[in-house]
């Protein structure tokens, strides 16, 4: 399946785009996605931390990704 990942802040700059597409297997998890992202964008490993969100909720490493989910990469937040 093809998934799209929204990116903000420093991760938008690392990706060079506010949205990227990746091809993943149908039963892929959040940890699979992190592995793939870090292979393609090694600068992610230099961040203090980052999370992934699925459909506007923070996701856990074991969560499964489905086609058409809204996925976003969330670098360390700094609002307020």
């Amino acid at each position: 399946m093809k998934i799209n990942i929204l990116a903000f802040g420093v991760t938008r700059e690392i990706f060079g785009s506010s949205e990227i597409s990746l091809e993943m297997t149908n039963d892929a998890t959040i940890s699979n996605l992190k592995y793939l992202l870090e292979q393609q964008y090694p600068r992610l490993k230099q961040l203090s931390s980052y999370m992934l969100a699925v459909n506007n909720e923070y996701a856990l490493p074991g969560d499964t990704i489905h086609e058409r989910d809204e996925i976003a990469i969330i670098p360390p937040v700094s609002g307020g």
């Binding site: 929204l6 903000f8 802040g9 420093v10 938008r12 700059e13 230099q46 961040l47 203090s48 969100a53 506007n56 909720e57 923070y58 976003a72 969330i74 670098p75 360390p76 937040v77 700094s78 609002g79 307020g80």
Partner: protein, 139 residues
């Protein structure tokens, strides 16, 4: 409605926040106003640029308000946050809480800003004379 959440690219209107939070049932109102400071670790800050993942930021701010209502006997909660470019002295965030008694208003207001800074997907880029930095991005 006892909650008002706003993400805005326009200047936040502090007086309208206070007008909304006031009610005859309240005995106290606590207002936190965040402002853009002119320096970070001794370095002169020129401006801040705020970016939000808007639908999730709204959803996380609503969650924090719901948690505050569960924990304290508060009456109304307002959270307004800016996006876009802000100059020194401008206001990126206003939090207002009303309650019958002041302790609940103080405690809930403190809780809301503390959790907002940890969970709400909003990012700021600080501009210095020698370049820009995404705050907290790197160790």
């Amino acid at each position: 409605m006892n909650t008002q959440i706003l993400l805005s690219a326009q200047t936040l209107d502090i007086q309208s926040c206070i007008d909304w939070i006031m009610s005859p049932e309240s005995g106290g109102i606590d207002v936190f106003i965040g402002t853009v400071r002119n320096a970070t670790k001794g370095k002169k800050v020129l401006k801040l640029d705020f970016e939000a993942y808007e639908p999730m930021a709204i959803s996380e701010m609503n969650k924090i308000a719901a948690q505050a209502f569960e924990r304290w006997p508060v009456q109304k909660i307002l959270i307004h946050h800016r996006t876009g470019l802000l100059q020194v002295g401008e206001v990126p965030v206003v939090i207002a809480v009303s309650a019958a008694h002041r302790d609940a208003a103080f405690d809930a207001c403190r809780y809301i800003i503390d959790i907002l800074k940890q969970t709400v997907p909003i990012w700021k880029k600080e501009s210095f004379e020698d370049g820009d930095v995404w705050v907290a991005a790197h160790p």
